[in-house]
Point group: D3
Chain length 251, copies 6
């Protein structure tokens, strides 16, 4: 353990600079450019009437997500998954994680037979792309729901959102537990954990992995504590962003 | 909460009946048929000299895993992924999880430039296929390493295995925390967590998901406790199985 | 030609040890673990109401099969077809062969608009996987039909099965015609023939291939004779297996 | 059984009109437009120096084939396999069959480390496309070998061809065994058999299938007899075609 | 610039020898073997009742095209797109171009809810395969429309064809503008342009590409003039071909 | 023809508002966010040492491009090509067009054995995505070349860029020729043409298509004139953008 600041000057608890820009796109029902430091993800929520075939006639809606990285979002260029003809395991995994996180705060009954797909495209990657995606996607989701309400596609008093959701990464870097790892930290972390929490401090998802040596219960508890603080701060930022009056969406 | 036994008569802490049959196959360097109740997974460890291109020349080995379910392992038949022309997200996710779990107890330097692939094919599924896979794959891995030692492919004193690894699922079913969920429990669980631990009680992976309502820190702690007990018991079973003299492998 | 026994002590006419274990799986409507010596195939028959779109409304059913080898069923590991994103030519060919063999003894009118898919997954391969698959698949098919009858999905007096079907390989090894080749024999055979016959001694399929030198009519006649004897013996084993009372299927 | 002529006036033994047009293409080392009645297949043999990676350094060559049907070769249009993104089972099966047939008359040692691919593209289909393909492919193969010899790519005295090969279909139509079935016959045949034979009357491949009722040994013998006569006639036609002086190939 | 003849003796304005053979196939509703010198394309027009799902109920028809090259149509063999599992960019591009060209002279209302697919398969390639395809496809399209009229699938007075369409390539070769480039010219052309025109001299598509140095407005004008002359001549050839009485189509 | 302004107030010659933001990304060797009105494309140029296998050892470099639209760049969401498992025809076509445009101003000898891939990802689409891509990609390409020079990967006096390149769309909307069509104009245009020109007014590519009625030579000439003016203005904007001092790239 050490008291020296992190490589970018942060304390262990510090998040990177967080920016949430709503309505970054003109067409999407909800859209957010979310930035965790240099990590930059474009979240676009698309609302469509109707549900996938396997859900038809049950009176419930569906929320899902698709995540993908632009080929040059990273330090060296990666091949496009479309060119390779298949979606990679990591991409699938993160898409599914974001979808589960959003569904944790959605009452699909109240949504009616409607579908919202939130696309999270990573424009630039510097660690924490999945947690930034979840945090931004929630805000885009709120805007898409409100847009649907304004257009009469859901009733005025429907409450499809049962809470808010945010996510942060925590990990053990150089023997010290830190919050919101950037890429240099992430690539050297011994343990890496992504935690998704609701705005009222409940857990939606905990995914901890020992990249190097396995970790003990003590470390796990420290990491959970850091994550709780980080998610609470992100929840505050989401509410701030949503408090601003949205500009009109162009159709 | 309730004191009534689980639907199959188990207490919350009870594992299902665990059977670990070594050398179920004649060709593979290590092979195990692992059963957690009616869940039945065939784990085959294949040792090959050499490593994938991106690892060449570093003097380190590679351990990875591929998981797949037979089409009629489940209650209703699923289409084969080979016919669909792509590996599903869940399949990818579990394959990657098993690989990480095994690498947590492998010293790739000591393995030398050799590769071990552990195939985990689910012959019958009744919940817990990924945790059974990890638990069985470890035993198959040990046998493959010993087979390589016997054939002189690794040196007599090399210690590629730095410990043992096992996994169990825990979850909240009907408001009660229980261990090693079968399919009826798993499909109604509010929270579902897979925990991978080393034989000496350290965490390798924690993956908890709120399927329904998010869970609090108290529930999380209870689940972690149950998982610790379950993994300890599985570790004991692995050692028992490995204590028996393996029959000769047919070449 | 020679009088010395085959490499495993068999006479030219001898089958390997044949084992047919019914109800090896709990979920499938019919399931058989069939073993021809060390060749081990899991046959699972899935009965579903309804037929593929192209057959709808004709009052006839459909029986088909899918064959696949586990990656480490063979002496050295093969890549999974799902990972390669396509089904190989050999896999397709054998799947189609098994399907034709089963349909030769099915009256699709009597089956009604129902579908039976028989999955044949090779757990261990030592030659003759396609003939073992056909022989085991027939037994699984009978069990699936009887299960459907018991559940009232076909009428009590429907006779969808018009006979039995079994298959054996024959070939010229070291200049001598032999029956039921194992892998060492198969890989050195000059001519290799798979013969599928009904229980009453009629031909369903004859597939003979000169791997090395072409063969004459005399050799062909000898091989057909051996196949006839072998199929008759396999028919006897199928009837024996079916004569035992099946244990209850778990649902 | 009946004595009335077949629907197109042929006797049971009659082949359809057979035309073998050499050098139908300007670029290919060997090319043949082969016609069995209205069935029309373009066979193009491509000779290239070198062999696939798995054969390198053994001093032996490789001969293979790819078969495909044009989308409107048939009575109703089929989708292109390239658009579907995968090669169908039937296409794979026939490609493999043609390849085996050609390799039966090739001495790969004498071919040296060279590869010949024979593409068989069905321009029009009216039954017997695989047998026409084999019969035409052999002639294209001979021309490609001679072209290679003329260019000095194989030595002047190398004899890569050890014989000739031809194929014909036979089957039971309306209870009568007939030779070289056209599509109307093929689609109603109870039993359908493809037989590949060398020019000196040996069998290379026998593939008989009971489409409807299984067949007995007597029928099998009758069919084999018809096939022998048909293949002998096709062998004669191949020699006639090859006896003509080939026109110069354009480069 | 130079006054010497082109490498094959043509003047800059000369087309290669053009041959349009109607009804080259027996099954297709319209079929043409079109030859521009050694370039040889088989165009098959398939008429089917009904339209793709996205057009249903609008009372309009659909015309589209698929282009593909046989593997040995070219000087050296190319891999089949079906084997590669995907359609290449160039193939897609040309298929789309042919489809647009044909739709430019089709009144989809007058066609009714029917679909015509024109398959253009290149049997031999020597430059200009896309322009030959368009020129031949138009003739096959006319025949398919007339066949549909004869069968009563469109009304006797419907006029789905609003004009004719043909295409030619032009380019700058050795500093000189020439028409209908063959492969040797095409592969050395500095600028290459494909022009699709209606029979009455209007433009449907102009696609000009500077392969080497960019081109000026003067060169562009010269090329457009050459294309106009070439298309007018091709239009004349199409009318000649269509003036002949078509032989009966075999069903 | 009409004198009323276009739907957004522009004259026929007017471009939309053009914005070229350099260094929008931190990792890429060159990156530009280019905006033509609401059309927004992120162009990232990746410089890597070495060339594709088919170019090795010739001492020349390679420049190529990949274009893709984000799923919600458009008014209604489209499926991801990665999920569909294949790249669509339009995507291929535009990727190839951008690549050709860039190579028209690259001296691959001067580039040495290096590769530059320019990814053009459409973040928002409102017509003209391919022309905006080319215009922005050129600027990113210049920055990537200068970055390589600064890092010594190409020599100080190498001049890989032989000129500049820009592109604009022109078309006939409501009977009037206009420049730089937005989506509402594009979707109703009778004729649509994309023109790629060098900075000194030469043509690189002309692609004109009659979407509705074919067009005459007079209209073609008018459109070419408009395109010339538009490209000249875009060339001016590119130079302006490049005149600004680039900020440091983060590594």
């Amino acid at each position: 353990m050490t008291d020296t600041p992190r490589h970018d000057g942060r304390t262990p608890e510090d998040l990177r600079e967080v920016r949430i820009t709503r309505n970054w796109l003109d067409h999407a029902e909800g859209s957010v450019l979310v930035e965790f430091g240099r990590t930059r993800v474009l979240c676009a929520a698309s609302f469509t009437e109707g549900v996938p075939r396997w859900l038809k006639g049950r009176g419930t809606g569906w929320v899902t997500s698709e995540y993908e990285m632009l080929p040059r979002s990273t330090n060296t260029r990666s091949d496009r998954e479309a060119r390779k003809g298949k979606v990679g395991g990591r991409t699938h995994e993160i898409s599914r994680l974001i979808g589960r996180a959003l569904r944790a705060v959605i009452d699909t009954k109240a949504l009616g037979e409607n579908t919202i797909v939130v696309d999270c495209d990573v424009l630039q990657a510097d660690g924490g792309t999945r947690t930034a995606s979840i945090t931004g996607a929630y805000v885009a989701l709120v805007d898409a729901v409100e847009d649907a309400r304004a257009r009469g596609l859901i009733t005025a008093d429907a409450q499809p959102l049962t809470g808010s959701v945010a996510a942060v990464s925590v990990g053990i870097v150089d023997g010290r537990a830190v919050c919101d790892l950037d890429y240099p930290e992430d690539s050297t972390a011994g343990t890496d954990m992504n935690v998704v929490m609701t705005g009222d401090g409940q857990y939606v998802e905990v995914q901890g992995t020992a990249e190097g040596t396995p970790f003990g219960r003590g470390e796990l508890d420290t990491l959970l504590g850091l994550a709780e603080t980080g998610c609470a701060e992100l929840t505050r930022r989401q509410h701030e962003a949503l408090a601003q009056t949205a500009r009109e969406r162009v159709r």
